[in-house]
Amino acid sequence: MNSPVLPQSLKTNPQLERWVRFNADRTVTVFSGKVELGQGIVTAIAQIAAEELDVSLARLAIVPGDTRCSPDEWYTAGSQSIEVGGASMRLACAEVRQLFVEEAARRFEVSAAELRVRDGAIELPGTDLATSYWDLAGEVSLARAATGRAPPKPSAAHAIVGKSAPRRDIRAKLSGAAYVHDMELPGMVYGRVLRPPAQGARLKTLDEAAIRALPGVVGLCVSGSFVAIAAAREEQAVAALEAARGAAQWDDSPALPEPGEIASVLRALPSTRTITSSRHTPGAGAAVTRREAVYSKPYIAHASIGLSCALAEFTDGKLTIWSHTQGPHHLRAQIASVLGMAESEVEVVHRDGAGCYGHNGADDVALDAALLARACSRPVLLQWTREDELAWSPCGSAMVVKLRAGLDAGQRIVEWQHEIWSHTHIKRPGWGEGVNLLAAWHMDPPLPIPPPKDMPLPAGGADRNAVPLYDFPAHEVAYNFIADMPLRVSALRALGAYANIFAIECFLDELAAEAGIDPVAFRLQHLGDARARAVIEAVAAAAGWKAGAAGDGARGMGIGFGRYKNLSAYCAVVAEIEVAEKIRVTRAVAAVDAGQIVNPDGLRNQIEGGIVQAISWTLKEALQWDRERVTTRSWEDYPILRFDEVPRIEVVLIDHPEQPGLGTGECAAGPTAAAIGNALWHALGVRARDLPFTPERVARAMP
């Protein structure tokens, strides 16, 4: 018999005891490497575990992202937490349940199939024969590798999965301490970092004695251009930071390119061209008309509402860091390497932070805190400033996308070329070589900024979703990879999928208009995937899409569609907009097929949030810089969507309980941007191809 293929997390962490533990107080603890980022994943994974173990949610605790006990599940990223983390937890719990039921069956001298599990009790129905996970915990060893051979429950038997369990973390967050920012340890002091004033600045002089003499200052760590200050009280740390900012002298040289339109900035940087996907189906019709268009997306900030923060403590030569990182195990390895410690001497414990939407300063601040805690021999709670959050944490890479299509005499697309100019879209600690932590690049001696390496297809980085899902007989995807990273870039929600889907879906509307075919009909003509067709048809029906309806010069409706990564959830969005001085999205309707749905309300929440965030990106957001520095330093420089600008949102869920669950956290971004772009054309007859659609941009695109 062949071994079943285990999901990646279970391959990496096969021991069942790494996933499930039965406690003496008749509770269960499950351990997950997937962490809460505000996406509700801890609630959903708990539902999966409770379902397979047949225990109530109230009896189950979950420990996410703790290197002392949780499995190493890579990062909580890429919409993989249900697909991989959930699938691993499901198989592990199904196998644990089977082991216990088999042990009970041996004792009762019955077949396992006759037994049932009810909230952890294992019973022979119709008799008083009963035991439990806890009664048998001493007999059944979980120090064994998962085989993946225990079949999970069929979806028809689900009582917890598929229902909207309330968020486990909501009550604590709505009332008091709940985040890493809120932690305190005995003797703890407060830390701040003085970052260089410009991207290429190096520290020349700092009067350390003067800083140390400031009220409350208990520690100062100066190494190269890395400066961190600890004080007994938080306001003293802030005051000392400002004093140090005034006193420090820096060498400065321009490190950033001349600012300008993204389309020209990126294409002026050196790049290496690779064909990352191509297909040619012999016998396809010849193109008789061709069209080309260029789209662009700026650098975008993660812009969490909470600042990056970590708590670090050394005790007996061991370092413990409490962090809102997305990858505790990777962070542990990177910090151990910077500090010259063994990995076994460093533990990283996840504590919730504000939503990150990708790789922000969460990992960097953990190293900052560790360096300062080592320097002042006290536990340090270190928090960034808003200015540094915008100027120094990684941002989402800018992109240029050039599309060319050829249509045959029957108005069908027969040729398709998708060409990208961009940087890497992932530069997380532990991704590729070297150390990807800011302080390590500023210390003396500095560690080199490791060479970038983007994520390859099929998931893709810049070319995520560049391969068309439509049935084009021929396509080619070219990626002009820009190795330089003048602005620090890394993973932002959806990576390249946001710009690629925006470009593809807007270009399809351009081609449809040229062909005189309704945009929904034009898409369906080129789409054989039944699930893709179903979300497009569902969103059109829910939105009241009318083929051929004209915009009225101020209002318009547009559609966008994508299957995230061409592997995860299907999502189609219709946006209605009104254009006066600025664009206002008045209504957004989405249809989503995520396979088996674990928590319908949690899924809706992710889609609603994804749509709102994408509207904000699409209408407002772009980081600004000059030759020396990122000039975006506050919320005043970086407006995001506000409460009076948010549309009515409707989400249609298409449930496929018989199908594997598909990741949804990032699927709405590209379709939303495209729907707005297409609605703008519908309203005004204007093709806006450069994001964001600010009033100035839209005015410039007017004929």
Binding site: L37, G38, Q39, G40, S164, P166, R167, I170, R171, A172, K173, L174, S175, G176, A177, A178, Y179, H181, D182, E184, Y190, R233, E234, E235, V238, A239, A303, S304, I305, G306, L307, D352, G353, A354, G355, Y357, Q383, T385, R386, D601, N605, Q606, E608, G609, G610, I611, V612, Q613, S616, S634, W635, E636, I640, L641, R642, F643, D644, V646, R648, I649
Partner: protein
Amino acid sequence: MAENFTLRVNGREHAVRAEANTPLVYILRNDLKLKGTRFGCGQGNCGACTVLIDGKPVQSCDTPLWSAPGHEITTIEGLGSAEAPGRLQQAFIDEQAMQCGYCINGIIMSAEALLREKPAPTDAEIAQALERNLCRCGTHPRVLRAIKRAAGETR
């Protein structure tokens, strides 16, 4: 120079000793251990640190300590607890109006000020009351529903 101050927070008197210009948010979080008030930007732009002073919503990150004595300060802890949530907290639980939740307590404080003034606000009045609050996760539709729900329960 640290000085002594007496603050009235959530109906109780507290003695604190700190520099007069210390932002109120640090006093609430670090001295009084009222961690439900979040620090967001320190620039008065995001509303995460919103508390009520004499019923009016203010950003505690740009409110100096010296200005607070003699006034009634209300934080999220003054509205309810995890075990016994207040009406707005309960409405946010009922609507599951949270993603990361970091902005929410500031939003609830702005909404509390609104509902004290206008028990049955219009949609436009709710949006207006939240003009100084930012949310990055996109929880806005649920937040608006939750505030309307809380308002409905007071009618």
